[in-house]
Symmetry: C2
Subunit: 210 residues, 2 copies
Amino acid sequence: MDTKKSIQKYLEELSSNSPTPGGGNVAALCGALSTSLGVMVCNLTIGKKKYLDVEADMNELKNKLSSFIEKFISLGRDDNEAFDRVMDAFKLPKETDQQKKLRNEAIEKSTLEAASVPSEVIKNCHEIIPILEIISKKGNQNSLSDSGVAIAITAAASDGAFLNVLINYSALTDKQKAAELLVQTEDLNNEIKEEAQFLLSEIKSKIRGN
Amino acid sequence: MDTKKSIQKYLEELSSNSPTPGGGNVAALCGALSTSLGVMVCNLTIGKKKYLDVEADMNELKNKLSSFIEKFISLGRDDNEAFDRVMDAFKLPKETDQQKKLRNEAIEKSTLEAASVPSEVIKNCHEIIPILEIISKKGNQNSLSDSGVAIAITAAASDGAFLNVLINYSALTDKQKAAELLVQTEDLNNEIKEEAQFLLSEIKSKIRGN
């Protein structure tokens, strides 16, 4: 996505009837939001006397997480482009049998690509959850709610991305080709959701105990 | 929040060690994102021959939803301001007994206010879920994944906001004052999460059946 755009402009374009940005792009943006929130908790831990013993860990986790912000932004861009390619394929001529064949092949190929982008979003969400878990446990406990928000938004980003894998998968003629992708993605998504639910319940108990 | 800011600038400020924007602001922004996505599905339904019978409904739902975008943005702004007021209260002088008393009162008052903003986010999420439900059922079925993303992000926004109610509540000396707010908010949040889970499971089945 074009991150130079203002939030207002993004919301306007999202609300409009233009095909992109859509849900896949929002899922990727939510990945960037939760990752940034995780980096914030690292920054609010580093340099604090109380957390000197975890300073090295926090620096490492911060560096790891930071690279994911750019990945999610880039996946948001990929999602828009993949969707545009599906739309372009549908616009191909379909007068002759040869044209129909080429059009169907183009639709199939671009739809498969459009399924693979949200699948990457899910893989990245799956990688950041264990990082966010450590941050929530070892990082600044005054920011425990922020770590929790990051975890909740990551799970929603993953589930949102899964809906996009699913809708593209369902549109395929040859589902066999993407069957493995779907199963893998669904497993990762379920794992993320279960882990997030567990962590959020732990975080809520901890905040209540404060 | 200042929506004239670019997404990149927002993500940078979020990642930084400045206290705002934080998790409460992200929760409100996610409310605005899911609402905008709901409006998009209305716009992708209105004017389509296949959906002429629901056009009036979609126009009504679109108008209803649109007003929530501004509400969430305004709550994001309130969240930043409320947090700044808590920080200001902590900076008050605490040399004399009278100063300590005033400082404690200011901390207590601003913390209670800081709990009420995310509670409003949850109330608004609770109001948009039934609207998103109708949109997902009656709206353009090619955008069913978008309706689903909107529902998933709304539930995460609500749960994220609840963590912010909880952490502020836990910081209060006189918890009695906010006990009712906490219970009400928790009930609404649980309702939203259950409903979202149910709707998302329905949406996934429906997409698979396509």
